[in-house]
């Protein structure tokens, strides 16, 4: 039997602060943060990300954020597009509904991590997933937590990945 087709899996990393975090974080937080990271998984020539509107997809680099600040190669997967989309639909109903979004606990990076593990068995770099705890460990972060908790990020430009019958 021929070897199954391998699809590359990439992680697109965007700095939502566009460089401001790197410059201002020492002053504001007391520690150096390289950026406020938003990530998405790119596989099967599509970009998938999680926001306050649920799981969305778009052509790679197709959100309002533009091209990514860096691209991380996560690995390869045998999972076909069909299986993957079914998986995403299923995720979008259970674990990653829009209302489940929380900037600190359950954000786009949580989603990217989950999907990366599903696709390749590997996690995304820890500097991304550690960001919330980094911020919350500073007095500034703690003070602003109520405000930050209510922030919801949804980069425009994608389409929802969802179930056909519209059931929640």
């Amino acid at each position: 039997m021929e070897p199954p087709h391998l699809y590359p899996v990439k992680l697109y990393v965007y700095d939502l602060s566009k460089g401001l975090a790197r410059r201002l974080s020492p002053i504001m937080l007391g520690k150096q943060l390289e950026g406020i990271w938003h990530t998405s998984i790119v596989v099967h020539k599509d970009e998938f990300f999680f926001g306050s509107g649920g799981i969305s997809s778009c052509p790679p680099g197709g959100t309002l954020l533009g091209p990514p600040d860096s691209v991380v190669d996560v690995g390869s997967t045998e999972v076909t597009e069909e299986i993957f989309l079914e998986y995403l639909s299923s995720l979008g109903e259970s674990l990653f509904r829009g209302e489940a979004y929380n900037l600190f606990e359950h954000n786009c990076n949580t989603f990217s991590n989950e999907v990366a593990q599903f696709l390749t068995g590997r996690k995304i770099p820890s500097y991304i997933t550690d960001l919330p705890s980094e911020v919350l460990s500073t007095p500034f972060g703690q003070a602003l937590r109520p405000l930050l908790d209510s922030i919801q990020i949804q980069p425009p430009g994608g389409n929802t990945v969802g179930r056909p019958n519209g059931q929640s």
Partner: protein
């Protein structure tokens, strides 16, 4: 430990029976939850799947196990794949269409096995597969479906919903074929039949009503969904409405054949109200559909539907509104036949254009001229498209610059005199007609302003703008003569109706003006 495994493996080879091997704990992670299974290290994936299917009450055929990105085949051994104690394996439960799935290019409707309530998902996917086969027989249809498929790729739920009911009914005789699940070898005669039947269903107005009703209900169900008002939903519903509108266009066109036939029997009927009389019988059909569409919550989506519905209607109106006083009938007939004849290819082109310009879709849906446009012919003519876009932008600038106009451009307008006979008729048929006529009214108004020397005080800014451009030459002359005050010059010109000499005298007599 490795040796124990080796021995176990060896003894298995030798004796053929399953030797005692380590029992490992493997976690199976689904999108919904995570469960643990205890089983022997050297058991096969098939065995593993059997255990899973027992616990989850699913068919083993539908289980897809993934470990470190690799799909586990039935004949693999767990330990060979590197699955040891404490490993986590991912599980996806598929819908039961593995055979057909490969032939369908659209994403399948996913369904958790415990929630499987109706077979509609599998039927829909089967439908898609059959559409694919259909497309291969008839190239024109293929184009159309391809465009549809691409346009709706972004909203897979709409695909399934939209195609579900009507096509199931239309291709009802194919149902036995679904059950077999075998990708059939080509059966040309049957496929040709299918193609014909689909074309018929696409052209029968009665079928259309059903189709639209069904789709409308589906849309309503979609809107009522409790899972959140997704910001992305308007996109998919826009596209759905576009589909509805193109189909409604077909209805409207069909109905107008009968409308214009009766029209021809009468004597010359160029006047505005008479044509609306003859078109009135057809309008209730269109109106019914559009009224149905209006019951939906979103403004944009309902506009899209009415766009499609009205595009049949205003073709006649726009024919009448031109200042020419000739008989409009030949024009109407011509436009009708033009609309009807090359339907599938036109639809293809239209869809293609809209697909390439999603902003255009958005613009069309929000523009005040949306009711006024014969959608199809505009979309397929690139120059017309350009002109339309310019008009849109112009109207937007207009409404920004002259706030007084905005109510006319967007909301319903109040009737204004004898010319508004059709507007009263529109009033009878629902207040949504008013934007059409108000836009119409405002365009006529502008036309009047432009052609006649404006004494209207309704919008002084308007008249001033127009007269300024009219008096451009005179203004230049006055400037050359040394009258630097442009506004004074303009006022003088307006007062003297463009008479430059009188204007000069006026200006000299009132140096402060």
């Amino acid at each position: 430990m490795a040796r124990a495994r080796e021995e176990a493996g060896d003894s298995q080879l030798v004796s053929g029976r399953e030797p005692p091997s380590r029992v490992i704990r493997v976690s199976v992670k689904t999108p919904q939850d995570c469960q643990e299974f205890l089983l022997a290290e050297n058991s096969s994936v098939r065995h593993f799947k059997k255990q899973i299917s027992k616990r989850l009450h699913c068919d083993t055929d539908r289980l897809v196990l993934i470990f470190t990105g690799k799909i586990l085949r039935d004949q693999d051994i767990l330990s060979q794949r590197g699955i040891h104690d404490g490993a986590t394996v991912h599980l996806v439960v598929r819908t039961r269409l593995k055979a057909l799935a490969s032939s369908a290019t659209l994403p399948n409707a996913s369904d958790h096995c415990t929630h499987r309530s109706e077979p509609s998902a599998s039927e829909a996917a089967g439908m898609l597969a059959r559409l694919g086969r259909l497309a291969r027989t008839s190239p024109e249809l293929a184009d159309l479906f391809g465009q549809l498929a691409q346009l709706l790729m972004t909203a897979p739920e709409s695909v399934v919903q939209f195609l579900e009911d009507p096509l199931i009914q239309g291709l009802a005789s194919e149902k036995p074929a679904i059950a077999s699940h075998v990708p059939e070898p080509s059966r040309p005669a049957q496929k040709h039949d299918l193609a014909l039947r689909t074309l018929e269903t696409l052209q029968k107005p009665a079928r259309h009503q059903e189709l639209l009703e069904a789709s409308k209900q589906r849309l309503e169900a979609l809107k009522a969904v409790p899972c959140g008002d997704n910001a992305m939903r308007p996109v998919s519903s826009d596209i759905q409405q576009l589909m509805l509108s193109t189909l409604a266009l077909l209805i409207a066109s069909k109905d107008y054949i009968s409308g214009s036939d009766s029209c021809r029997g009468e004597a010359n009927v160029p006047s505005y109200p008479d044509t609306t009389t003859t078109s009135a019988p057809a309008r209730p059909v269109v109106q019914e559909v559009s009224v149905g569409a209006f019951t939906q919550g979103r403004g944009m989506t309902s506009n899209q539907a009415s766009l499609g519905c009205k595009s049949g209607v205003p073709v006649l109106h726009s024919g009448q509104d031109l200042p020419s006083q000739d008989s409009q009938q030949p024009v109407e007939k011509a436009s009708l036949t033009n609309q009807l004849r090359p339907l599938p290819s036109l639809l293809c082109q239209a869809l293609h254009v809209l697909q390439q310009n999603p902003t255009l879709l958005h613009q069309l849906s929000s523009s005040p001229l949306r009711h006024h446009i014969p959608l199809l012919s505009i979309l397929t003519n690139p120059r017309a498209l350009q002109a339309l876009i310019q008009i849109e932008q112009g109207l937007q600038i207009l409404s920004r610059e002259v706030p007084g106009l905005r109510p006319f451009l967007q909301d319903s307008a109040r009737p204004r005199g004898a010319r508004r006979v059709p507007e009263s008729r529109a009033g009878r048929q629902g207040h949504r007609e008013d934007p059409v006529h108000s836009t119409l009214a405002i365009l006529q108004f502008l036309h009047e302003l432009a052609s006649a020397c404006s004494q209207s005080t309704q919008s002084p800014l308007f008249s001033s703008f127009l007269t300024e451009s009219r008096y451009q030459q005179e203004l230049e002359q006055l400037k050359a003569l040394g009258f630097a005050n442009r506004s004074a010059n303009l006022q003088a010109l307006i007062a003297t109706n463009g008479d430059i000499h009188a204007a000069i005298e006026r200006l000299l007599g009132e140096p402060q003006a």
